[in-house]
Amino acid sequence: MRKAVVAMSGGVDSSVAAALLVERGYDVTGIMLKLWRGETANNNSGCCNLGAAEDARRVADVLGIPFYVLNFAEHFEDTVVRNFHEDYSAGRTPNPCVRCNQWVKFGALLERAEVLGADVLATGHYARVRGTERDGFRLLRGRDANKDQSYVLWMLGQRELARTLFPVGEMEKAETRRIAEELGLRTARKPDSQEICFVRDGDLAGYVTENIPGASVPGPLVDTGGNVVGEHGGVARYTIGQRKGLRVSLGRPVFVTSIDAERNTVVVGDRGDLAVGAMDVMELRFVSQAPAPGTRVHVQHRAHGEVNEGNLTADAHGARIEFDRPVEAIAPGQSAAFYSATDPDELLGGGVISATVPAAVPA
């Protein structure tokens, strides 16, 4: 019997993922990760709170599978949280869910699952794995386009995909909920979690002030010409493209166009200043091999964000994407996921955006 470890968050998706594998005859063990020190980090959402652990445990009871909570708090803090703080301190916009997938779920947990004798690790992500060991594995967007989570899975390579299952990726979310209802799982109607699990009540500003004091020091807000036009409340409070909360009145709408953490300066400009013609991406990972220089790709630079077409040229250090048309408001630190131009559902790989190149001003 094939053994599966299911990463259970206490939400409906991972509950149903576990249920589907039980149904398919896997020997399933449910595992929840305790990612935060203390008993609870966020009472309303996320994966680390006590209520979630109880929900997952009761689902496991109904499914008749063993369930354990593993303490990954130190590892999570040393990797995901540290990176989150470093990124904000450097004026970047981090994506902790991507980092958690990279270093925790498909890093330390995948390793742990192997030690526990599991053949595969399953999660409740909406994405699809296709292929075999011999022909290679491919990663596709989830069947439910609205719920697709392949964007946060760009770091998965052949080694990971060979041992990973996404049972709900083949379904519409409504179907997932229906299965949970039918099985009488208590998580059937739980709302989707949106927030960063370690930021209490979604109060990012409060979290930053408390935990990243260096990125909360007020400083000058300047225009693209270098003129001081106001004061900012700490670089971590801003992200590229932000319009709200700038507290300047220049008689026209202004947006954050860049963040210079070293000088503790936030730059604002017109909407046109947000236009990006190209960007550089580091920490590249490809599902299979790196595509040939100049390969046409569809690029997504935000979770559930729009897709932009361009040409990808990768070398050992990173990749440059030249967009066909200017793209607005790309924030360094965010992930870029590359999809195939021939099959827009197929994820080719991705990385972390390191820099952007302004679009050429039209003559």
Binding site: T29, M32, K34, E39, L50, A53, R57, P66, Y68, V69, L70, N71, A73, E111, R112, E114, V115, L116, G117
Partner: protein, 382 residues
């Protein structure tokens, strides 16, 4: 077949205790506070149990306050004594490796304006009387040192600690969390000279949810649960008659069998340790082996996560423990192991085997069969 080596967590209820409790639940439904016959019969069962518990721990029956468990008894000791003695001072001393029932109650007292000192313990797992007494001053109202540590099983010289503390300040109340003691070491509270002592029935073959606080004659604590004034006003609430009766019987048996049981468990533990050392030569025993209850073996296995070992052992049908479980069920590195100077790394890779009355040689052999392979598997990834 399940092999249960986690008696420090809880013990199977003795068959004779179950029989007694079931009979009482069926027949003796009276409220011990009632005047009528049903009440009087229930009252008699409670008082019989009080006599039995008192005899088992070297106390007088009127020094026993029944509670809803060991944690409640510890809370009553710390909060009740602190409230009672507030006029005498505000200083409280607890040892570093107390159970959370004591540590967290002490932490709560800190929030109420009390001043808490933590007495360090030695790498062997001992709280030394000079060290504890050294922290005691004229404003010290309460000292709490456990009799037997729940994780490493080391036995403290409570009499020496009580003497030293009282020598320094005769008004200081000395409490001992004796939850892991009864049934594992002879308990003689009057001889030890302590003022308060906490017990839990389920650690010695009794039911869960029943415990007792010994309150030495002449000492008093304020109630933390108020109501009908049961237990001489120190613990209100209708008494759990069946549970208390079960506790009484279990305590009597535990005290009677303590020497014989210890001898038997000691031989089993030696076999376990010898076998483990053969297959895992770099295994580290946490705390000294001397002055330790016979059934306890706490080891760290370098290069492993206790969590992983525990899961794999569970899958092999072997129950033991590692670290301390938080409310979610996750394991935190043990504060006890950190308190005796273990590195975080070693503390994470710890396993506690605790043998008890029902343990057999087969249980020990099952561990010796399974663990080497499991350790190898766990180390492969590291």
């Amino acid at each position: 077949m399940e092999h249960y080596l986690d008696h420090a967590a809880t013990t199977p209820v003795l068959p004779e205790v179950t029989d007694l409790m079931v009979a009482i639940l069926r027949e003796d439904y009276g409220n011990p506070s009632s005047v009528h016959g049903a009440g009087r019969r229930a009252k008699e069962l409670v008082e019989d149990a009080r006599d039995r518990v008192a005899r088992a721990i070297g106390a007088r029956p009127d020094e026993i306050v029944f509670t809803g468990g060991g944690t409640e008894a510890d809370n009553l000791a710390l909060k009740g004594a602190a409230a009672k003695l507030r006029g005498n001072g505000e200083h409280v001393v607890v040892s570093a490796f107390e159970h959370h029932a004591v540590l967290d109650a002490a932490h709560w007292l800190e929030g109420q304006g009390f001043d808490v000192s933590i007495a360090p313990v030695t790498p062997e797992g001992r709280a030394e009387s000079e060290v504890v007494a050294g922290l005691v001053g004229p404003r010290t109202i309460l000292v709490s040192v456990m009799t037997v540590n729940n994780e490493i099983g080391t036995v403290q010289h409570i009499k020496a600690i009580a003497d030293a503390v009282h020598g320094k300040n005769p008004h200081t109340v000395v409490h001992t969390d004796a939850v892991q003691a009864l049934g594992n070491v002879p308990v003689d509270l009057h001889a030890w000279g302590v003022d308060l002592a906490a017990f839990a029935a389920h650690k010695l073959g009794g039911p869960k949810g029943v415990g007792a606080l010994f309150v030495r004659s002449g000492v008093a604590v304020d109630a933390i649960v108020h109501g009908g004034g049961q237990e001489r006003g120190m613990r209100s609430g209708t008494l759990n008659v069946a549970g208390i009766a079960g506790f009484g019987l279990a305590a009597e048996i535990a005290a009677k069998e303590v020497y014989e049981k210890s001898e038997r468990l000691l031989a089993m533990r030696e076999r376990l340790l010898t076998g483990l050392r053969e297959s895992i030569p770099d295994l580290v025993v946490n705390g000294a082996l001397e002055h330790r209850v016979a059934g306890n073996l706490n080891v760290s296995i370098p290069g492993t996560e206790g969590e992983t070992l525990l899961l794999l052992l569970d899958q092999a049908g072997i129950a033991c423990s590692s670290g301390s479980a938080c409310a979610s069920g996750a394991l935190d590195p043990s504060h006890v192991l950190l308190s005796i100077g273990s590195s975080r790394q070693l503390a994470r890779g710890s396993l506690r085997f605790s043998l008890g009355r029902a343990s057999t040689d087969e249980d020990v052999e099952a561990v010796l069969d399974a663990l080497p392979g499991i350790v190898q598997q766990a180390r492969r990834a590291a």
